[in-house]
Subunit: 213 residues, 2 copies
């Protein structure tokens, strides 16, 4: 497998965690988002949405991080990243989507660029925007995890899974932008437990071949 | 099943289509988003992310439209909304996420409210923002559907499925905000084919009990 990636891309990080949890090897292909490499040349042809990550296997190009992780779950089921029961699977996917559909899309690079360039947002206004969606979005996830008694050592029960693959990169982003995190103690305890595991350590941005300080 | 819903919510509309395609009956529970009913009382307690839709079955509350549709697919597999092969499933999920993660989150009500209230965006600037993400986002979906020879009468092959459940509400939104759509002829042909089907007709906003003109 080849994984087209950017070390700081939160969506890329999700897939790296899933691959690491399943013990799958891959070739890392860097795509530098800040230099707009995703919009150019061979990569733009291969990637219809011109985003990372992109996973290439058997000549097929797969995109969208959640779709890629579901694919890995179907084709390499051990260890499972989704619970066995349908209600549990719905819960884990909903946590993942609380992050992937409600928080992250508002804060990615092209959106921040639009705020500054088209809406003339100041640096302070841009950072306030970022923090607003992260802080309120994570608060909703915290509420969910406290609500139903199914949270364990990780987002769902006691093994890391899909929801944790989404949570950890979002917390990395939150820390990078100095977001408030003291209102989400459950999430932070899970984050710490994840980051104590080799799979999460190996997948983190600073461990990537294209990492920059 | 009970479905908490708002007639104009695009995420609610996706679930209504999936339920209609599978022929599943449900009780419609309106939640008026413009009046902020999702933030209040019993609903706010029940819905951790304070969004619609919410599907209640056997005392369990399920949220996030894609997670709900995956749940319906697992528990009521006929007719299937995902293809049988893993590459096909990854493709359909990626199309769905190109809409659910790249277009829709930027344009929902709370985001538009933030633009106006916090960033002092004018009506014109707000509408330009809306159209920008819809038009560029749909262009990416059009590119994907043209790229790989797997598009048929619908987004994937010749039966309506998950990707079509996402596409149709997004086109409704685009039309409501006068977005340009002449650059996505493949999507529009699929949209027309979907809207000729009773399931899509029955699920559309104007057919909902809480519809307003």
């Amino acid at each position: 497998m080849e994984l087209y990636n950017y070390f700081r891309s939160s969506a890329s990080f999700r897939v790296r965690i899933a691959l690491a949890l399943k013990g799958l090897a891959y070739d890392y292909r860097p795509v530098h988002l800040v230099r707009n490499e995703q919009l150019e040349g061979d990569y733009a042809t291969r990637s219809s949405n011109r985003l990372v990550p992109l996973l290439v296997e058997d000549g097929q190009s797969l995109s969208q991080s959640l779709a890629i992780i579901e694919y890995l779950e179907e084709t390499h089921p051990q260890p499972p990243l989704l619970p066995a029961d349908s209600f549990g699977r719905a819960r884990v996917r909903a946590i993942a989507q609380d992050i992937a559909c409600e928080i992250h899309p508002l804060n990615n690079l092209r959106v921040l660029r639009y705020l500054v360039k088209e809406l003339r947002a100041t640096e302070d206004a841009k950072n306030a925007w970022y923090r607003h969606w992260v802080e309120t979005g994570l608060e909703a996830v915290e509420r969910r995890l406290l609500a139903d008694g199914q949270t364990g050592l990780f987002c769902h029960a006691d093994q890391p899974g899909l929801a944790d693959c989404l949570l950890v990169p979002q917390i990395f982003n939150a820390q990078r932008f100095d977001c408030r995190l003291d209102h989400v103690p459950t999430l932070m305890a899970i984050f710490d437990r994840c980051m104590a595991l080799p799979a999460f350590q190996a997948a983190q941005p600073s461990a990537c071949p294209d990492a920059e300080s």
